[in-house]
């Protein structure tokens, strides 16, 4: 009888242990969240002690950047409950009540005319503590860049991922002035600070960033036929690297910066070649009677992914840099082209055409799973941000710049600029 009771007790204890699951007694499953971005308030930086009005609204740039990421959502400036500039002025409950998780306060001090010091703090409203504090020198001409840097700091502090706000993009703009004009431009990620790399009356196509971010390769029709040039951005010096008979197109830099993959039709149909930029040695990678185009390098530089209609419609294929039989990568949809490899090599962004609509999609290389990121009708030229979190693309009949988060949830049009913008490419981290 006693043994029985003891056994009962033991079972009870065990059950209790099981029920309590060790130490934590209550286990609560959370599955229903609100899709959205983490709320952050960026209070306008204090500029009251400056001799002249600052030409740049740092807080606005930061807010815009963070909104672009899709991860953070900056509070509408009009809704800010207070206007603190120092962390010790912050009344956390007010920001908590306003539904904010994070708060950025800052001020700009003028060391000497045109020489500034920007100070800011990132505060955790919920834990009521500072997460980050920086002080950075600035000059009038790099104030925007400093603002993007602040965005990068904040983004990295919260997400653990390096920010890509302070990088540059390149794109082709077609201007419909008196005469049609083409401009190769380089700009900040938000479209500001645009600078002309090349202006031409003839089409310019397929810009490609060198891995060091210092040069661009592109196709120019300035001689009435397509030729490939490499241009050093800082010096504007350029050289023609490919001017073969027929088509010279779609240059793409190898990860080590020593080769260009390109499309030549000098031997008949357009095929993929590689060009040693130093030795000018050319190597044919594909040889097929169909069209092979838009080559891009895998991140390890061992293979090239390209578009081919060898199956009847454009699809993506992969081939080793030493040639061989290409392997088809895309099977879903009648149209998949314009591949762009994510920096970690795990995803391929592309234009995915279905039912007469062309959208940006990505496939996961490991599984082949395809995810459509955009829902416009005419999207083109996807390009991963250097941190792999965003995809830049052009859209619409009158081409505009857009960026989408890689899960497709955050889509933002970059600053409105006049003209038809095509073929944007996101530069590397060092593109500045």
């Amino acid at each position: 009888m006693h043994i029985k009771r003891l056994a009962t007790c033991l079972i009870g204890v065990l059950l209790l242990g099981v029920m309590q699951g060790g130490k934590a007694a209550l286990t609560i499953e959370i599955t229903q969240g609100v899709d959205g971005a983490l709320p952050i308030a960026v209070v306008p930086f204090d500029t009251s002690r400056l001799g002249s009005k600052l030409p740049v609204d740092i807080a606005a740039i930061v807010s815009s950047d963070l909104n672009l990421s899709g991860v953070l959502k900056a509070m509408d400036r009009a809704a800010l409950p207070a206007n603190p500039h120092y962390s010790n002025q912050v009344q956390y409950p007010r920001w908590r009540s306003a539904g904010q998780d994070y708060l950025v306060v800052g001020r700009v001090l003028e060391e000497s005319p045109g020489v500034y010091n920007i100070e800011f703090q990132l505060l955790d409203v919920l834990k009521q503590k500072q997460l980050l504090g920086r002080s950075m020198p600035a000059k009038k001409r790099n104030l925007r860049s400093r603002a993007h840097q602040i965005s990068d700091f904040i983004y990295e502090q919260i997400t653990g991922t390096r920010g890509a706000f302070n990088t540059r993009i390149a794109y082709i703009r077609a201007q419909n002035d008196a005469a049609r004009k083409y401009v190769l431009q380089v700009a900040d990620t938000d479209g500001f600070n645009a600078q002309n790399v090349l202006e031409s009356d003839e089409p310019i196509m397929s810009p490609s960033w060198s891995p060091d971010g210092k040069s661009l390769a592109y196709v120019s029709f300035e001689s009435k036929r397509p030729e490939i040039f490499i241009q050093h951005l800082a010096t504007a010096r350029r050289s023609k690297v490919s001017g073969f008979r027929g088509l010279n197109g779609a240059p793409s830099w190898s990860p080590d910066g020593k080769f260009l993959a390109l499309v030549l039709s000098k031997d008949g149909n357009p095929d993929i070649y590689t060009l040693n930029t130093a030795t000018k040695r050319l190597k044919r990678i594909t040889s097929h009677r169909s069209i092979d185009t838009e080559p891009v390098w895998s991140t390890d530089g061992n293979s090239i992914i390209f578009t081919s209609d060898r199956s009847g419609s454009p699809q993506l294929y992969e081939v080793g840099v030493d040639g061989g039989r290409p392997k088809r990568l895309t099977f879903e949809g009648r149209y998949n082209s314009a591949a762009n490899i994510s920096p970690d090599g795990k995803y391929i962004a592309m234009v995915h055409g279905a039912r007469g609509q062309y959208k940006i999609a990505q496939i996961e290389r490991e599984t082949g799973n395809l995810t459509v990121l955009t829902d416009n009708a005419l999207d083109e030229s996807p390009s991963f941000s250097p941190n792999g979190k965003m995809v830049l693309y052009a859209s619409g009949d009158t081409g505009s710049l857009f960026a989408v988060s890689i899960d497709g949830r955050a889509r933002h049009k970059l600053s409105d600029q006049a003209g038809d913008i095509r073929e944007p490419v996101w530069g590397p981290f060092d593109s500045k």
Binding site: I30, T159, G160
Partner: protein, 325 residues
């Protein structure tokens, strides 16, 4: 004979004593007769009367003294004569007496000799008599001894029989005693056993009753516990739901959450649902953004709802965040 004598020491002692008295009497007689009788001569003592007298008296007295001295001398002379006559008479009596005594002695000896002879004659006859008596006595003794032996044997046999009977009786008595003792012991044991049985019965009854009571109490407690359990389980479900809903209301799932596996989050809360600590358990493959969103959701849900019964309050909560589809 000697053994016979030894067997009767009193007779021997009596005989010895008698002989000694006789011998003593013989000696005493001889002695007394041999000792002459001493005749004591009585002393004449006269006391002198002293008186105080004068000269005349002294002269007179001298004269008197002389007178007296002469008288005295006279007296003494007479006395001596008397004594001499007396002594002569005495000697004569003495001799006479001796002669008579001698004659008497001769007569005595003669008588004694005759007595001796007579005694011897008597003794001789007596010895024969004695011998016959002795024989008779011995025969008697033998008979008596035989009788005694037979009697002894008979007595001994009787004694033995009696002893045997006694022994048997004793044994029987002892056996009986033992039997009785055994019976008593058994009776006692039976009594004790009965007592023990009764005691045990009482104890068992008591235990059974206690057990019954305990079971009833247990059942009651169990029912109560089940009821409490149901009530608590209900409140517990409500508690969990309240926490869940509040956290979910505050959870902003950031971009790129779709592919993240389940994140385990341990929350330490204080009284009133104040959050003391948030730590991540297994959260493989998650991004910092995702973890931040979870942490923020928990902090924004502060104060966490409190349970309907304080007993349900748990300091440690485990959240399993999964982004769902």
């Amino acid at each position: 004979m000697f053994a016979e004598v030894l067997r009767h020491p009193r007779a021997l002692l009596l005989s010895l004593g008698l002989h000694l008295v006789v011998i003593g009497l013989i000696f005493a007689n001889f002695h007394f007769s041999g000792q002459p009788e001493q005749i004591k001569t009585g002393q004449v003592a006269k006391t002198v009367q002293a008186e105080v007298v004068d000269q005349q008296q002294l002269d007179a007295r001298e004269a008197q003294k002389q007178q007296q001295a002469r008288q005295l001398e006279e007296a003494q002379k007479k006395k001596k004569e008397l004594e001499a006559r007396k002594l002569a008479a005495q000697n004569k009596a003495e001799a006479e007496k001796k002669r008579k005594e001698e004659a008497q002695k001769q007569a005595e000896l003669k008588r004694k000799k005759q007595a001796e002879e007579k005694r011897k004659q008597e003794e001789a006859s007596k010895t024969a008599e004695n011998r016959a008596a002795e024989q008779k006595r011995r025969a008697e003794e033998a008979r008596k001894a035989e009788e005694k032996r037979v009697a002894d044997e008979k007595r001994k046999a009787e004694e033995k029989r009696l002893a045997e009977e006694k022994r048997l009786a004793e044994e029987e008595r002892k056996a009986e005693e033992a039997r009785i003792a055994e019976e008593q012991r058994k009776a006692e044991a039976a009594r004790l056993a009965e007592e023990e049985r009764k005691r045990k019965e009482a104890e068992e009854r008591r235990i059974a009753e206690a057990e019954q009571k305990r079971k009833e109490a247990e059942l009651k407690a169990k029912l109560q516990a089940e009821e409490d359990q149901r009530r608590l389980a209900s409140l517990r479900d409500k508690y969990i739901l309240a926490i869940r809903q509040k956290v979910e209301r505050n959870w902003i799932k950031p971009a790129g959450s779709g592919k993240i596996p389940v994140c385990e989050v341990h929350v330490l809360q204080g009284p009133g649902g104040i959050i003391l600590d948030v730590t991540f358990g297994a959260c493989g493959g998650s991004t910092a953004t995702y973890r931040a969103s979870i942490e923020n959701a928990v902090y924004k849900a502060e104060p966490l709802p409190t349970p309907g019964d304080p007993a349900l309050f748990e300091r440690e909560l485990t959240f399993l965040f999964s982004p769902g589809e």
